[in-house]
């Protein structure tokens, strides 16, 4: 059987990837293109008419200061959260692979927050910040704690970051654990024999060999942080006074609550481009840093 003809290749592709391609096109590619088309209309989301308006939605996107504020806020949130999530996850992974007693139990324990959906997580932490901490603060008569953190604009952002770290650190920890496990024991032993201290082994042997874990974790946390919506909705709902509205929430409000579907779609596209550029750039730089043993 000839295996280098066009028809053979097409058949091979159709057999193995055909269904997936059709589904991927139906749920990702086509909606994306349709969404792109909607950015050129002044559709309100319910009307049967979709009047074509050209670039007007992009003009109003650039004029929408609330959107840029939300995007800026998302940047700040994402930068802090990404760093904290990865630092915490790496430390946890290091601890649970260093041979402490019951490390499988700890791995499962740290991972569990990730199994709770973002909406539920938000409500749980809302209770913690609004009631538990306040009650604690009152009983200790510690002034700073006796009012809810969620009631101040800086505090609400702080709470969002805490919850995100709590949610994602366990998941990223698993990836880092896999990275630690993938470092061959031979290399580590060789390093020990050559006289490396534990810290030197970690910095000069383990970390360079698990760069791919860093790339993956950074990519996952960056995209998730930029797209954050569920925790934002259930924990702060954008309050107080709209000071914790993230980009995704602003897009949703713009499209559905304020009924500017076209503008909302255009803003979503810009958010997508920002995420895509940062994500791809980060993976590209990360891949360059990878080494093989």
């Amino acid at each position: 059987m000839k295996t280098n003809t066009m028809s053979y290749k097409c058949k091979q592709f159709a057999m193995f990837a055909g269904v997936t391609t059709v589904v991927f096109a139906a749920v990702v590619i086509i909606p994306f293109l349709y969404g792109l088309y909607l950015t050129f209309t002044s559709w309100d989301g319910v009307s049967t008419q979709k009047p074509f308006v050209g670039m007007a939605n992009y003009v109003s996107t650039f004029a929408d200061t609330a959107y840029w504020q939300a995007l800026g806020r998302t940047f700040i949130y994402a930068i802090i959260a990404v760093i904290l999530v990865n630092v915490v996850a790496f430390i946890l992974a290091f601890l649970v692979t260093s041979g402490v007693k019951g490390q499988n139990f700890f791995r499962a324990g740290f991972f569990i927050p990730n199994l709770i959906g973002g909406i539920v997580l938000g409500y749980i932490w809302k209770f913690v910040f609004n009631r538990a901490l306040v009650a604690l603060g009152e009983s200790l008569s510690a002034g700073a704690l006796s009012t809810s953190l969620l009631a101040t604009s800086g505090g609400a952002m702080f709470c969002l970051i805490i919850v995100s770290v709590w949610q994602y650190a366990g998941y990223m920890m698993l990836i880092y654990v896999a990275g630690f496990m993938s470092v061959s024991a031979d290399v580590l032993e060789a390093a020990q024999i050559d006289g490396c201290t534990n810290v030197q082994t970690l910095v000069h042997i383990s970390v360079p060999l698990m760069v791919s874990s860093f790339v993956q974790c950074l990519f996952l946390t960056i995209t998730r942080c930029f797209m954050v919506y569920d925790v934002n909705l259930s924990l702060t709902k954008g309050e107080p006074f709209g000071s914790s509205v993230m980009a995704a929430m602003h897009v949703y409000n713009q499209a559905f609550t304020y009924k500017n579907y076209g503008t909302g779609q255009a803003e979503a596209l810009i958010l997508f481009i920002v995420c895509a550029v940062i994500g791809v750039l980060q993976v590209y730089i990360g891949k360059k840093a990878e080494v093989s043993a």
Partner: protein
């Protein structure tokens, strides 16, 4: 060859499993329940936007299906009504009957609603909504806003029966609050920090109580209205300041949770909260006091606005007119609306099961909850100030955010007025 067969089988299995996952009509996040299909009948879908009556609606759907053979499915969504309608219409999957707010009827009716002018119930209500001279909105109930009071809690301290009519002005109200505090009630009021309550319900009363509502709103759009020096605004804000000052969460008013506020009110820990008769659905979840009710918001006024509640028809059904709904479904939906108004069982469903204040003259209601009884009393006496139904969609969230700033002490009253004025002047007027 064997490998090829294996590969084909695997691919087929995957395709089938994908199809199985993708099957089934689903509205994400909606809860659907009801009678399901019946033998010969038509199936209709109903969107309910009052969470407090969702269970009653589901139960009713079953009974209604058994009796009439029309399959009824009831849906609810946590989204705002306008946003949910938008997602359903953009998915070409509208409900046969949708329960929406008045402003949604105005924005949707011209394109999506069926003309109901010829229906029997039209002559029995003063609250139906017409667009382009056609009746399109079926009022589900009457709701009104005002100050909710807990008479038992007040009596415990003052020792006298609480008569709401004695407290019409801000000064009289302030004196009572002072008396309550002196009598040992640590904080006699609760203030909801939700944007829909602050801007959608409280602030909007400032417009609704103007002598010329439409003129005032148009002036706001043009940036010509002087809110800061408006007597209505200042009267309202004087009372708001009082509520805020005596608020149990005065330390951190924007952290107040609605559940806590309702519980304190129900159990008599606080005596007053601005709200509406829909709040009963939360109050009755707690050990509520026997004597509660609603009164007009006390304020310094000479135009009688401090003797009336603000409200009217609330939640409207409209029937979808698009090609996604068949004529049989539309007829079944019309029959359902008639059943609500003209059938004793339908009446009982509205007033007894759902505890709604009826918007129809032929329906009598004795066994309503205390707040609804107050509303019915004011409605029957003609003491309701009409809702203004043409607020822009982002009014409650943007002005609500400004109001929260005021509560947190980040802006003063003049600053709040300026923010609201600038919101209006930068907003495209709602056509109507």
């Amino acid at each position: 060859m064997k490998k090829k067969i294996l590969a084909m089988t695997l691919a087929a299995v995957m395709a089938v499993s994908l199809a199985a996952c993708g099957g089934g009509k689903d509205g994400s996040g909606d809860s659907g329940n009801g009678g399901g299909a019946s033998g010969d009948g038509v199936n209709i879908t109903i969107f309910n936007s009052k969470i407090e009556v969702q269970e009653q609606f589901e139960e009713m759907a079953k009974e209604y299906s058994e009796k009439t053979g029309v399959g009824v499915e009831v849906y609810y969504s946590n989204d705002t009504v306008a946003a949910h309608m938008a997602t359903r219409y953009s998915a070409n999957d509208p409900y046969t009957l949708s329960m929406v707010d008045a402003k949604d009827v105005y924005s949707l009716a011209a394109e999506h609603a069926v003309d109901l002018s010829d229906q029997d119930w039209v002559s029995k209500t003063n609250y139906a909504i017409s667009v382009d001279d056609k009746v399109v909105g079926f009022p589900v109930c009457i709701e009104a806003r005002g100050l909710i009071y807990n008479a038992d809690a007040i009596k415990n301290i003052t020792g006298k029966d609480f008569n709401p009519e004695d407290y019409k002005t801000t000064e009289e109200f302030a004196a009572l609050l002072e008396e309550l505090v002196a009598g040992g009630m640590a904080a006699p009021t609760a203030v909801m920090k939700e944007d829909w309550s602050l801007a959608g319900h409280f602030l909007s009363e400032t417009y609704e109580e103007q002598p010329e509502v439409e003129e005032f709103v148009q002036a706001l759009y043009k940036g010509e209205a002087d809110l800061a020096n408006n007597s209505k605004w200042n009267a309202k804000m004087d009372t708001f300041d009082l509520l805020l000052k005596y608020n149990y969460a005065a330390d951190s008013p924007v952290a107040a949770e609605r559940e806590v506020s309702e519980q304190k009110l129900a159990e008599g820990e606080v005596a007053f909260m601005f709200g509406g008769n829909w709040d009963w659905s939360m109050i009755n979840a707690y050990e509520y006091s026997e004597n509660m009710g609603m009164m007009p918001l006390p304020q310094t006024a000479t135009d009688g606005t401090n003797e009336k509640l603000v409200g009217g028809g609330s939640k409207y059904f409209f029937i979808d007119s698009s090609d996604n709904t068949t004529d049989e479904q539309r007829q079944a939906a019309k029959d359902f609306l008639n059943w609500l108004v003209s059938d004793a069982e339908g009446n009982a469903f509205l007033t007894e099961k759902c505890n709604l204040v009826p918007a129809y003259s032929n329906i009598d209601a004795q066994s309503l909850d205390p707040l609804s009884l107050s509303v019915k009393k004011y409605a029957d006496e003609g003491k309701l100030i009409a809702n203004y139904d043409y607020l822009p969609d982002d009014h409650y969230s943007k002005c609500g955010a400004s109001f929260q700033k005021y509560m947190a002490g980040q802006v003063d009253r003049a600053g709040l007025a300026a923010e609201i004025e600038s919101y209006w002047s930068s907003t495209t007027p709602v056509e109507h």
